[in-house]
Symmetry: C2
Subunit: 236 residues, 2 copies
DNA sequence: GCTGCATTGTACGATTTCGTACAATTACCC
DNA sequence: GGGTAATTGTACGAAATCGTACAATGCAGC
């Protein structure tokens, strides 16, 4: 057990064994992650994997004009899973939805590290499963839940990935991610605000009552998160 | 290059190198896959991985009373991906929706084989990505497409996994998988039938015009399948 | 403090899908 | 070959969501 010089704020990195983390550390480069910065271009070679410490990235399908979100990634995970699977690209765009900062590593260095340490590879593969479950739960939510519940779910996922209770996003943007009309989001937010579950200012939503949000999201929220902690806890 | 005694009808197995296939073969056991047979119980240790040669399995979220489908698996893939990721269970049920047959291998034997052959492991990991994309595309379809397009997409996915053009399923069942009302499916099927795209009998849908089906599914169908062939073609 | 633009609020009819109910049909079992 | 259950067809008002348009508001920059 070795004291880190810089504390690691990314939970996926932090859950690695000391050995594996040490193996990555020389290659980790601190990066700031600007709003709307594209981390992975769809169908282009992936240059780096990113481990956010703050901020949130969206995984989107960009066909059909707009973007539709199929996943979110923050300090619990990593951007660039295909690398872990030995693949060099993905059809989905990854960009920063809430700015922040984190670490990045060249795809090649990560590959090499995984080739040297089976336990590192195994650990990252566990996160692949968590990510897969998240996508599946998004499919589930999109089929079953009304706008209000989906919005609640989405706010919770943001809340899990920001520092305080403030989520800096516009209705327009949220609508795009959920694949619904913008006024639909406005109205649903009003309902939540009426229940004192959130407070909304221009371009900013503040979570006031997380528990009630979870009730409102109903079955759409939770499985993913439970699965994540199960997977990441077991193996040290 | 060695002639197989029994030709392998599962595309994932078939795309393995001769070496890797030979490594698995002693452990592969032919199984028939009965209608509604549960291959993986949610949150229970996974005993076997299955490689279907015929038939189709559904991956479902079983909360909320009914089941909702988050993925399908047939002769292009395998059931039991968590094993490939070094995980022993999944929150989703896997059961046969269209009966058939295939091969199975004990989880332990598969693990051992992957430990011995990195190329085997790598190859199966490529399929993990394909499966992830499929889940993401389901999320996309559920958010964006109306019942008709989603039904078209779903019929296409079935069609890809059965032998001829016949898909033996009831409206009730399809409705459950898509997460919509049963009469909604009945009506949508009538529309497709009116366009001569399918023919429907009791418990049986016959695909007549696959191309037009693909048009109707619009953007909801295709990406997954393109990604699959890209991933599985590259590496021999 | 004004101005201009991005954001949010609100309205409206149109459309899709829902929930539910019940009738009609087919397949299967005895 | 008649009865029975599963499946499919159809209808209806209710609800959710859509597409669109436009007004009101707050913020940023000058």
């Amino acid at each position: 057990m070795q004291l880190q010089q810089v504390p690691i704020g990314n939970r996926l990195l932090a859950s690695l064994s000391a050995d594996d983390l040490a193996r990555l550390q020389p290659h980790l480069e601190p990066v700031s992650l600007a709003l709307r910065q594209v981390l992975i271009e769809p169908n282009m070679p992936i240059e780096h994997a990113y481990f956010p410490e703050q901020g949130m990235s969206s995984v989107t399908n960009n066909s059909s004009g707009g973007k539709i979100e199929v996943g979110v990634i923050g300090q619990e995970g990593m951007i660039g899973l295909p690398i872990v699977l030995g693949i060099d690209q993905t059809p989905y765009e990854h960009f920063m939805q809430i700015p922040g900062h984190g670490w990045r590593i060249a795809a090649h260095d990560l590959e090499q590290a995984m080739a040297q340490s089976r336990s590192l590879h195994r650990h990252l593969l566990r996160y692949v499963q968590a990510s897969h479950v998240q996508a599946s739960e998004t499919a589930f939510a999109n089929a079953n839940s009304d706008i209000e519940a989906r919005l609640a779910r989405w706010l919770l996922m943001c809340h899990d990935r920001v520092d305080g209770d403030d989520i800096p996003l516009t209705h327009e943007f949220i609508a795009m991610m959920l694949g619904v009309r913008r006024p639909g989001v406005t109205v649903a937010l009003h309902v939540l605000e009426g229940m004192r579950v959130i407070r909304a200012k221009r371009g900013l939503i503040t979570v006031l009552d997380r528990e009630k949000l979870e009730e409102l999201a109903d079955e759409a929220y939770g499985l993913s998160e439970t699965e994540y902690s199960r997977l990441m806890k077991t193996e040290a």
